[in-house]
């Protein structure tokens, strides 16, 4: 019998080692798995490489993980925000690494990792400093930059509902990076608002099939990060 539900967020994040690459879902606060991040802070893993669209805001969620000194490197598209002082301060002191990647390239690198591809050619960033040193190729008269897959050791994702097979639905624009991050990690950990019985989710409405999901924690009233 398959049952991917775990008893707590602490159990969900057990075994994430120091130095792991952790894909963290969310776009700003929408979809950020704040309760799983809080459990990861409690769990104590250090020297993490984190992939997210941003670099945290205020002092909750990803910003709290960074503030706790657990993150060695952030891979994101947009670390600047009006309330991103935690990351900003560390960056200016040279205490955290940043790899700035165009947003669509992050998404597609994750998808490529999940889809077993060795990379892809994208027109994005051709001729810019973000493509400096990268392999390029002209295909049918257009210029492309070669990008490699972006694998995670773990993914932390927030979804809306799950059954025990790990089939997922999402809430509105909180879906964002969730589906591609679920595909791209060796171990995908999800927090959901609601547990439903197997067969209860309309098959056509399942966004992430359970094959991409390994552990699910139920958090009925998720914490929200801005």
């Amino acid at each position: 019998m398959i049952d991917k539900f775990v008893a707590s967020t602490a159990e969900a994040v057990a075994g994430i080692p120091d130095g792991a690459t952790v894909l963290i879902g969310g776009f700003g606060g929408a979809g950020m798995p704040t309760d799983l991040i809080d459990a990861l802070i409690e769990q104590g893993a250090r020297e993490l490489t984190v992939v997210n669209n941003n670099a945290g805001n205020h002092e909750t969620g990803l910003a709290a993980l960074i503030k706790a000194g657990r993150v060695r490197k952030v891979i994101c598209s947009f670390p600047k925000a009006s309330h991103s002082w935690v990351f900003d301060d560390l960056y200016r002191r040279g205490a955290i690494e940043l790899e700035c990647v165009p947003q669509g390239t992050i998404a597609e690198r994750l998808r490529a990792a999940g889809a077993g591809l060795g990379g892809f050619y994208t027109p994005t960033a051709y001729g810019t400093e973000l493509a400096a040193g990268k392999e390029t190729r002209e295909i049918d008269g257009r210029h492309y930059v070669f990008e490699t897959p972006l694998h995670g050791d773990f993914a932390l994702v927030q979804a809306d509902r799950a059954d025990r097979w790990g089939n997922l639905t999402y809430c509105m624009s909180a879906r964002n990076f969730g589906p591609v991050m679920c595909m791209a990690a060796a171990t995908t950990i999800v927090q959901v608002r609601q547990r439903v019985e197997l067969g209860e989710l309309p098959p056509e409405a399942i966004v992430t099939p359970g094959i991409f999901v390994h552990r699910v924690a139920v958090v009925p009233h998720p914490s929200f990060s801005s």
């Binding site: 598209s77 947003q103 597609e108 994005t124 624009s173 591609v180």
Partner: protein
């Protein structure tokens, strides 16, 4: 001495209205963060225009009433929005496939510099020590069928933002179709920059003096 006493540059709101006028019925459009967001409220009644948001929304509607805010329904600027009937949610890889794949008819972005050949700089001032932050700008720049830039014609200290060659870090090379400024509407064409429209009282000569690359009349 003021050499152009009669000139009344467009306000940001008026530039937004001017852009909105040119967006055809049935278009799929992405409005960038900042000034372009103003366009949404100016779209002419009677046209069905589908707004795309990079974080996975088609059919994005106006901001909600304060008591109807949902933190799971936000735009690219992370501000609360609504969904119109017919709207859809999708994940990030699909959202950026819509951009890169050439499915968006128009995107409108802000600009720091645009060159005579349509190079765009709008993501970085190139200052050492500042974290680079590109977001979705480079994907939009290469992907949308038409890239419209909406910006003031000159910087606060009077320097041209339309230039022979961008000096700021590029967002994309040869990507801009048209520039809407507080003074004029200018197309980027294979034959160079062509002035489509100017504010009342402005001459091509004066506009040329405020522009860092050669202009031609339409």
């Amino acid at each position: 001495m003021n050499p152009e006493p009669a000139l009344r540059p467009l306000t940001r709101q008026q530039i937004a209205q001017r852009v909105a006028r040119d967006i055809p019925d049935g278009s799929y459009v992405n409005l960038g963060i900042g000034m372009p967001v103003l366009i949404a409220a100016c779209l002419p009644a009677g046209r069905e225009i589908v707004l795309h948001s990079e974080n996975g929304i088609l059919g994005m509607g106006p901001p909600p009433a304060p008591d109807a805010v949902n933190p799971n329904l936000i735009n690219a600027g992370k501000l609360p929005v609504t969904l119109l009937p017919g709207g859809a949610f999708f994940h990030h890889a699909d959202s950026f496939a819509m951009m890169r794949g050439g499915h968006l008819d128009i995107c409108v972005m802000g600009g720091m510099q645009v060159s005579a050949t349509g190079d765009l700089a709008n993501w970085s001032l190139g200052r050492a020590g500042e974290p680079p932050a590109v977001g979705g700008a480079m994907d939009l720049a290469v992907g949308a069928r038409k890239v419209y830039i909406m910006m003031e014609h000159n910087t606060k200290d009077g320097a041209p933002k339309i230039v022979a060659r961008c000096t700021l870090p590029l967002t994309g090379a040869g990507v801009v179709s048209r520039v809407y400024t507080d003074l004029a509407v200018i197309d980027v064409t294979p034959a160079g920059l062509v002035v489509r429209d100017m504010i009342d009282g402005l001459t091509l000569e004066t506009l040329q003096r405020r522009t860092g690359a050669p202009l031609r009349a339409a």
